[in-house]
């Protein structure tokens, strides 16, 4: 006949060794519990005591101050570092002040589509060449003071025009530069016309 679980458990327990605690064990545990309780009662029953106010005033002078000695080299190094920091900061501030802020904006500008530097027209070149050729064959007109003056003016205008042209190519144009250019162009044309008129006289 098969044994059930309860029978097996009872059978195993019956073979376990027996152990009897010491007779005073419970008495010791009770005594420790009583000590904590008694201690609490005793602390609560202790008298309170406040020290007199002047006590700390008398103690303070007697406390020995910590040694504040800083080595000479450390002291001067710190001072030098401080001066360096101040100087660096001043230089930095000066640079910040002297360096101007760069501003970037966009703008719409009107410009001529064909704003290339005007070259002397073929007609103008031909006219000057013709005048110079005629001067070689017939010097009577070209020796005239008024004629010489106009030829000098034309060459002066050419020179000024070239100077202005170089400046525009280099740094860009301005309205004043363009106006001066128009003035020169008009004067050149007028001078050529006057030269031709003088030659026809």
């Amino acid at each position: 006949m098969a044994m059930n679980k309860t029978d097996i458990f009872k059978d195993k327990i019956s073979v376990l060794p027996e152990f009897e605690p010491e007779a005073n064990l419970w008495g010791r545990i009770e005594a420790e519990l009583d000590f904590d309780l008694n201690m609490k009662r005793a602390i609560a029953g202790l008298p309170t005591f406040d020290p007199e106010d002047r006590l700390w005033d008398e103690i303070n002078p007697k406390i020995q101050k910590p040694n504040n000695y800083i080595p000479f080299i450390v002291k001067w190094s710190a001072m030098a570092a401080s001066v360096a920091i101040v100087v660096s900061l001043s230089v930095l501030l000066y640079h910040t002040h002297s360096q101007s802020k760069i501003i970037v904006e966009t703008e719409i500008v009107s410009e001529e589509i064909s704003s290339e530097w005007p070259q002397p027209s073929l007609t103008e070149i031909k006219a000057i060449q013709m005048i110079e050729q005629l001067c070689q064959s017939d010097k009577s007109v070209c020796d005239n003071q008024s004629f010489k003056e106009k030829i000098d003016l034309y060459h002066e205008l050419e020179l000024e025009e070239a100077q202005l042209g170089n400046a525009i190519k280099s740094i860009g144009e301005s309205p004043e530069m363009v106006k001066a250019l128009i003035r020169i162009e008009n004067m050149k044309s007028k001078t050529i016309q006057e030269l031709i008129t003088l030659m026809n006289v």
Partner: protein, 289 residues
């Protein structure tokens, strides 16, 4: 045929409109802003492609703003080219000097570079200014002024100090001129309104228009191939006029051809001493320019 003309006109109109274009550019600028409170008696400016604006004020210090400008459709190029604009600003004793110039090879620079000066000065400070390729404006000044401008314009307004101007290939305009003005101009047009000051002008190739408000000060214009137009108050003047190969038009509508005209009333009124060649002398009364 009529339809064809309209089409042609429309095409020409479009072509005309296209001759001007608008473009967005980057304007990169750097500003120098300084005040000079120490004793300054003279300001000297040497500008190149600069717009210089000087205004007299009633404060006892000088305010200087110099703006360097680089314009380019490419932002990076505008920023790079800004470095080619150089400026100096220094006070030596009682003189404050400032100048700008462009340093760099033409091939390196792709931007349109320029400089703007805005200067405010007390009335006790005298000015010596030169500029190339730019505009110069002087307003509300009673100082001694010395100006030298080539390929640029000069604008004067409410000035009553001793003014000396040298101009080449430019325009000089002025309004409310007192004190005195002396000018040497070449290939320059001069237009001065409300002049109540002694005037002395030497001119070669150009046009001069003056509007006088009194007959108290002498006007001497010694010119060559320059058209002269004077508007004077309806008061007596002494005349000393001369033109060569042209004519003289007087206020009473008299026209004198290719000649010399002299008329003296008395020494208490001013004399208009004008000479030119190949161009007329026109004198009108009353009408403002």
């Amino acid at each position: 045929m009529r339809k064809l003309v309209y089409i042609l006109a429309f095409v020409l109109l479009l072509a005309g409109l296209k001759s001007v274009a608008q473009q967005e550019v980057y304007k990169v600028s750097k500003l120098i802003d300084r005040d000079f409170t120490q004793e300054v008696k003279e300001v000297e400016i040497i500008g190149e492609k600069a717009t210089i604006e000087i205004e007299g004020w009633n404060k006892n210090y000088i305010d200087v703003q110099i703006r360097m400008i680089s314009r380019n459709p490419m932002r990076k190029n505008a920023e790079i080219d800004l470095q080619y604009i150089k400026t100096d600003l220094i006070q030596t004793g009682s003189t404050l000097r400032m100048k700008n110039f462009f340093e760099g090879k033409s091939s390196q620079i792709t931007s349109n570079l320029s400089v703007e000066y805005i200067i405010k000065v007390p009335s006790t400070v005298s000015l010596t200014v030169s500029n190339l390729y730019g505009k110069l404006m002087v307003r509300n000044s009673s100082n001694q002024i010395q100006l030298d401008v080539s390929f640029g314009s000069i604008e004067l307004e409410s000035v009553n100090g001793k003014i000396n101007v040298l101009s080449k290939y430019g325009d000089i305009t002025g309004d409310k001129i007192e004190g005195s003005i002396s000018c040497t101009a070449e290939k320059t047009d001069i237009n001065l309104k409300e002049v109540n000051a002694p005037v002395k002008i030497k001119s070669k190739y150009g046009e001069i228009a003056l509007s006088l408000t009194s007959n108290q000060y002498p006007v001497i214009i010694n010119s060559h191939r320059t058209k002269l137009l004077l508007t004077i108050p309806d008061k007596p003047f002494n005349y000393k006029l001369k033109t060569l190969f042209s004519e003289i038009d007087l206020p009473d509508k008299t026209v004198i051809k290719d000649d010399f005209y002299e008329k003296k009333i008395n020494d208490t009124v001013s004399t208009l001493e004008l000479s030119t060649s190949y161009c007329p002398i026109i004198i009108l009364t009353g009408k403002k320019l």
